[in-house]
């Protein structure tokens, strides 16, 4: 039931996290098109 280890937490709309910048940009894009 709890497979939290497979879940990544990424900032939404923030680009100041170098390691997740691509994902953050993607999340921002998703927001912009919402």
């Amino acid at each position: 039931m709890h497979d939290g280890e497979k879940i990544a937490l990424l900032p939404v709309g923030e680009s100041s996290y170098p390691r997740v910048s691509h994902a953050a940009a993607w999340a921002t894009a998703a927001w912009e098109t919402a």
Partner: protein
């Protein structure tokens, strides 16, 4: 599915959708101490979102704006992971506790109280008939170990 759509779907038809959307919009466009958002991503798709921060002008008073998880992903740990992520970040930022201002509305928000309870939240105080007759504002508090 965009984070905004998850929040909108989770709160559709409730009186709480507008406030949650505003919090997410602020967090996404201008993340800062008062509001920032995390998305839970599994297999490349956003399954949920948490918006959290600190109360404006406070010292170490964390605020849980909203947690929303898409329907198919509920009860899979996404919501717990999101709140734990927020708690970790707030702890690192020096927050002493996290407070959720929960509408005590089991019709519109089924399971919300129980969800928070499993994460260690306890009712700090409540304001009866706050949102409307019969719907209280429940302050749910979770300590953050210092």
């Amino acid at each position: 599915v965009p984070a905004a759509a998850i929040v909108a779907a989770a709160l559709r038809g409730t009186p709480y959708a507008a406030g949650a959307r505003e919090a997410l919009e602020r967090a996404a466009r201008a993340p800062g101490d008062e509001a920032r958002a995390l998305g839970a991503v599994r297999d490349g798709a956003i399954e949920g979102v948490v918006v959290y921060g600190t109360f404006a002008g406070s010292r170490g008073a964390g605020r849980l704006h909203v947690v929303a998880v898409s329907g198919p992903s509920r009860r899979t740990g996404a919501g717990r992971a999101l709140v734990k992520g927020a708690l970790l970040h707030l702890s690192e930022a020096g927050a002493r506790f996290l407070l959720a201002e929960l509408p005590d509305d089991t019709g519109a928000l089924p399971g919300a109280r129980e969800f928070l309870a499993t994460l260690g939240f306890r009712e700090e105080s409540r304001v009866e008939d706050f949102f409307r007759d019969g719907i209280a504002l429940s302050f749910q508090r979770r300590e953050i170990a210092g």
